[in-house]
């Protein structure tokens, strides 16, 4: 297939449409998601997903404590009215049960979410690197033809 050129000649140089497309695509990628993707792909998938899952679990613990505090502020007076040790134990068991359910749900969800995020980032970076190598080949071809 013949090369497609656009625009007018600028001296002896013509604009290569294919090359411009590649350069634009890589520049857009670098601007939008490049930085984050490079950061993500600097890890192994397992490391990345497990690190973020643990971070999420810590955040969930903080969130649970805050939410429990709010609930206590809202209905603590009614709960503590006529409290016995058995009631207190049941209350604590419910709280711990809720916390564990939350941890399990978010743990599984976050693991899947970050694995998917890693896979997508990896795919994008791969495509970006392929585009870069194609650009490099084009440039080297041009250099050879010039010399």
């Amino acid at each position: 297939m013949d090369k497609q050129y656009i625009g007018r000649t600028c001296g002896n140089v013509m604009l290569d449409q294919k090359k411009i497309r590649l350069m634009t695509r890589t520049a857009i990628y670098e601007k939008r998601a490049g930085e984050e993707d490079f950061k993500i792909t600097s890890y192994y998938q397992k490391d990345y997903s497990s690190l973020n899952t643990w971070t999420t679990l810590i955040w969930i613990t903080v969130g649970f404590v805050l939410a429990a505090g709010l609930f206590f502020l809202c209905g603590g007076e009614d709960l503590l009215e006529g409290i016995t040790i058995l009631k207190l134990l049941i209350l604590m068991a419910v709280a711990v049960g809720l916390y564990l359910v939350l941890l399990i749900v978010y743990g599984i969800g976050a693991g899947a979410f970050y694995r998917k995020k890693y896979t997508r980032a990896k795919r994008r970076v791969k495509r970006y690197l392929r585009d870069l190598s194609r650009l490099e080949k084009m440039n080297s071809k041009k250099e050879i033809s010039r010399s």
Partner: protein, 375 residues
């Protein structure tokens, strides 16, 4: 219909050409509306509720991603709450942090949907949200919608009981704090609206993704009706203060907006639907293909009429005719002087063409009408 489709195409072209300016303009308008509403409703801190602050924040947020506007709105709300009562601000901060931890940490780019939901409630058009979110989004959008509704009700609780919350007496502060927290967590009207909107979004989304004819229209109507029924039934049961006029009007507006969205994003021709069945080694396929409606915008052709270039008209008098005739005779006699004869013939041809052209032009332009006798 075709005119509307042409307009849609034109709109698309305009959007494609000026999308940056259009988006920034919309972002600015949204910021102005959002900060204006916050300041007009809970403007407890005078400095922060000035017009300059509203305009300034809107302008600043225009040049940043939408998530900055969300953070700025939350900060403005907290500042006003702090001016009213520090414990209220602390509880509100905790609620915002919980929202961030449980959802917005994962998709910060979707945080602006919270603002849209809260704005719709502040503008008294709550049931536009289930239709719009259900048609354009995914089921996960129920989370930002719910967070937006909670934020709106949080602000409206504070607005309604500002006088009670303002007191500096320690008992009043504790009571005010507990009542505010109770209202935010167990407010029946708030949870009723959250339930109506969440179920509405799910209904709209489920119907919209079915392979049925006019799915978008049915989804909009069904979502609006479901929201209306839930809100009305809940209001009767809880003896709440939901305005029936408000929910009815917003449902109607939601359906109308659904039709507009369908026209803009999903215009198909159901009359030309094709139901196809085929198979391969592993599956039978039942495919329903609905063609899109597409019209091409008629392009205006500009015809450039250049200035009339005067043509030389050669008038052949008797003398010239004689010369030409003699040349022609000489051409007939002397065939050896072929080149000269050819030149003469070409001259004659050219002259004849010019004469004919002049005459035809004169006839067309009516220049020779004066000389003609009336028949």
């Amino acid at each position: 219909m075709s005119t509307l489709l042409v307009w849609r195409e034109k709109l698309q072209k305009i959007y494609a050409s000026y999308s940056v300016y259009i988006l920034k303009g919309l972002q600015f308008l949204m910021g102005l509306l959002l900060f204006g509403l916050i300041n007009s409703n809970i403007g407890f801190m005078e400095t922060a509720s000035s017009v300059f602050c509203t305009g300034g924040l809107a302008v600043i947020c225009t040049f940043f991603p939408m998530v900055v506007m969300v953070v700025a709105a939350a900060a403005l709300v907290l500042v006003h709450f702090y001016a009213l009562s520090m414990p209220i601000a602390a509880v509100s901060l905790v609620i915002f942090v919980i929202m961030y931890i449980f959802y917005f940490r994962f998709t910060p780019k979707k945080a602006w949907l919270l603002l849209v939901a809260a704005l719709a409630f502040a503008l008294k058009i709550p049931f536009v949200i289930p239709v719009v979110f259900g048609l354009l989004g995914t089921p996960v959008w129920i989370v930002p919608a719910a967070c937006g509704i909670i934020s709106y009700y949080m602000v409206s609780f504070v607005k309604a009981s500002a006088a009670a919350l303002r007191s500096t007496d320690s008992d009043s502060v504790v009571n005010g704090l507990m009542s505010f927290t109770k209202q935010v967590i167990t407010g029946p009207e708030m949870w009723l609206m959250v339930m109506a909107v969440v179920i509405g979004i799910l209904v709209v989304n489920v119907i919209r993704t079915r392979a049925i004819d006019h799915a978008w229209k049915i989804a909009s109507a069904a979502g609006a009706v479901v929201c209306l029924i839930i809100a009305a039934a809940g209001n009767i049961l809880l003896d709440g203060g939901v305005s029936y006029v408000e929910i009815c009007l917003s449902s109607v507006l939601g359906v109308a907006l659904g039709i507009v969205l369908e026209f803009l994003f999903f215009s198909v021709d159901y009359s030309r639907t094709e139901n196809i069945q085929f198979e391969d080694d592993e599956y039978y396929y039942y495919v329903k293909a609905v063609p899109k409606i597409g019209v091409s915008v008629p392009e205006k052709k500009v015809k450039h009429i250049t200035e009339h270039q005067p043509q030389e008209t050669v008038v052949i008098d008797e003398k010239t005719q004689g010369v030409l005739a003699s040349r022609a005779a000489a051409q007939g006699k002397d065939s050896s002087s072929g080149s000269q004869a050819e030149t003469a013939a070409e001259d004659i041809d050219r002259n004849t063409d010019e004469i004919l052209l002049t005459r035809s032009l004169s006839r067309e332009l009516g220049l020779d009408q004066k000389g003609e006798k009336p028949r």
